[in-house]
């Protein structure tokens, strides 16, 4: 569909986009306010950023969150890619419907339900097998569960678009199915794998509700610390922290998007050349 849009449509579009971005921009503005009062502009200052470095509780929580996010997104990418391959390549197997359901349901399941049910599982497992202790392990396990769904959906659509004849050609030339998959199809779906890893990383880094249930009394992730601080009222150092996180994530995503678009273009060109 390529036709010019009426002004009404465009203005709604820009209103929507402005609504999505205004709060974040204002937040970044506040983070440079020297005055701790929100409605008074006390001049430009980076003091709140400096204070972050001395907040041990925040730093510890940030470290835990990063460790969790790295482990969980890697685990989710492995499981999710396997699930995507199973769903796209194997038309019929026992448990297919179950797998499809379990891959899609976490996307819409309210976090609070997932959180409470998983906690009850972990507590019951602890009674039966004395494992897992609540903390890092349980947070990672629950994050892998909801992240896997996002990986599967992303990789699945990419895999469906991948041309199978290339893989078949590799097998005709003597490659084993596994080798054909690894050398031909894996590079084609790798942008989807990378982008879903990034998505899982940010989702895990951001999760408050599920982590709060499964973390247990000892461990606090960054969102849990932020939530408890924000609940008490406005704190200027959280403005600074939030601005840092938002900018870091934004830069990473834009860079990743750019790199993937470039890789895609190059591949399209190569296919065109090969077709000639």
């Amino acid at each position: 569909m390529e036709r010019s849009s009426p002004a009404v449509l465009l203005s709604v579009l820009f209103f929507g986009i402005a609504m999505l971005y205004l709060p974040i921009l204002v937040l970044i503005g506040y983070s440079f306010n020297a005055s701790p009062l929100v409605n008074v502009w006390g001049g430009f200052s980076t003091a709140w950023y400096g204070q972050l470095l001395h907040n041990r509780q925040l730093l510890q929580a940030a470290l835990l969150s990063l460790e969790v996010a790295l482990t969980a997104s890697t685990g989710a990418v492995l499981l999710g890619t396997l699930a995507a391959i199973a769903l796209v390549r194997f038309a019929r197997f026992r448990g297919r419907l179950l797998l499809t359901g379990m891959v899609n349901a976490p996307l819409v399941m309210p976090e609070i339900i997932t959180g409470i049910t998983q906690l009850l599982l972990f507590v019951s497992m602890m009674q039966l097998f004395s494992w897992p202790h609540r903390g890092f392990t349980t947070i990672v396990l629950s994050h892998i569960t909801f992240c896997t769904a996002y990986v599967t959906i992303t990789v699945q659509s990419r895999l469906q678009g991948a041309d199978r004849s290339l893989e078949e050609a590799a097998m005709d030339l003597g490659a084993s199915p596994a080798r054909a998959f690894l050398e031909v199809t894996l590079p084609i779906i790798s942008p989807a794998i990378i982008s879903s890893w990034l998505l899982c990383f940010t989702l895990s880094l951001d999760d408050l509700v599920i982590s709060s249930f499964v973390a247990g009394p000892g461990a606090s992730t960054l969102p849990m610390v932020i939530y408890s601080k924000v609940k008490l009222g406005v704190s200027p150092d959280i403005n600074a922290l939030a601005s840092l996180i938002v900018c870091a994530v934004g830069v990473c995503i834009i860079a990743a998007g750019y790199l993937m678009a470039r890789a895609d273009r190059r591949r399209a060109q190569e296919t065109q050349l090969a077709g000639r």
Binding site: L27, L99, M102, V108, T117, L120, T145
Partner: protein, 296 residues
């Protein structure tokens, strides 16, 4: 292709299947079981539903008290209804705002589409919690919106938005709008412009063509987007907790308080099971459309 026994297949299928069964499906069974237990002052804080008597007989101690409590105590009914109503109207607002946005993106030149989609998606990648917190900076009594409006002389007293239902609506629409725009865009993009031209050639007005062609063809996107907003919004906790007032009791917040405030795990489990039953219909609709779209 004839399906034969190939062990390699199961090496691919089984890890995700087992993991998700253990950590996604089985937890519901435990929640179901514990919803029939009673709160008890030990660790973990509930009684055993199944236990063995000293002479190795299985003993079943089922208590329906939690469900009775759920039905008789007004708080839960009110919270369920309030959550459903809030999620329903937020979904409508998202649809009203998201449809024109998706339509405008679908009709813009291909070169601009990628950028516009990235702009819509970017907030989805940034922290949900931090975005809700950022929204507070806009709508609180001495926030950005009131400061600007007072300065311009539009209002003489600050608008009271924080801790009201309106704040919860704004929060949900703000947070979930991208989930509405993306599936709508996906269906609108596939729409063949020749159909609209044909309708115009046959004398149909643009409005008529929209109602007769565009709208029905984009229905799967409307349903997918609505479910992606509605279902999580019913269970929303962060938004009513940070932006809403004490009257904006959504079920997620009740569940949270029951769990962390009262430490009543069995009642919390019963609330969760009741809540899940409430959502079974919408989740089934979502799954049905999703599977159909993926298989297509």
């Amino acid at each position: 292709m004839k399906s034969t026994w190939r062990p390699g297949r199961w090496l691919i299928i089984l890890p995700p299947l087992i993991f998700l069964t253990v950590f996604f499906l089985i937890p519901f069974a435990f929640a179901f079981k514990i919803s029939f237990a009673e709160a008890a002052p030990h660790v973990p804080p509930f009684t055993d539903v199944f236990s063995f008597t000293p002479d190795h007989h299985l003993r079943l101690a089922v208590s329906l008290g939690n469900y009775r409590y759920l039905i008789t105590d007004e708080v839960y009914g009110v919270a369920y209804l309030y959550s459903l109503r809030t999620a329903f109207f937020s979904t409508l607002i998202c649809l009203a705002l998201g449809y024109p946005m998706a339509y405008a993106i679908a009709r813009s030149p291909k070169s601009a589409q990628g950028l516009l989609l990235l702009v819509i998606m970017l907030p989805f990648w940034t922290s949900f919690l931090l975005r809700v917190y950022a929204l507070e900076g806009i709508i609180r009594d001495n926030g950005f919106l009131n400061t600007v409006l007072l300065h311009l002389g539009v209002i003489s007293h600050p608008l009271r938005i924080m801790r009201t239902s309106l704040a919860v609506y704004i929060g949900i629409v703000y947070s979930y709008l991208p989930f509405m725009v993306l599936p709508l865009f996906a269906t609108l993009e596939k729409l063949d412009p020749l159909l609209l031209e044909a309708a115009a050639d046959l004398g149909s007005t643009p409005r008529r063509a929209f109602v007769d062609i565009t709208l029905p063809l984009s229905l799967p996107g409307v349903i997918a987007g609505s479910m992606l907003v509605f279902i999580p919004a019913v269970g929303e906790f962060v938004i009513p907790s940070l932006l809403g007032g004490p009257n904006n009791l959504m079920i997620g917040r009740v569940l949270w308080d029951e769990f962390f405030g009262n430490h009543d795990w069995p009642v919390a489990s019963a609330v969760a099971i009741g809540f899940l039953l409430l959502l079974a219909g919408p989740i089934a609709i979502y799954q049905y459309y999703n599977v159909r779209q993926l298989e297509a």
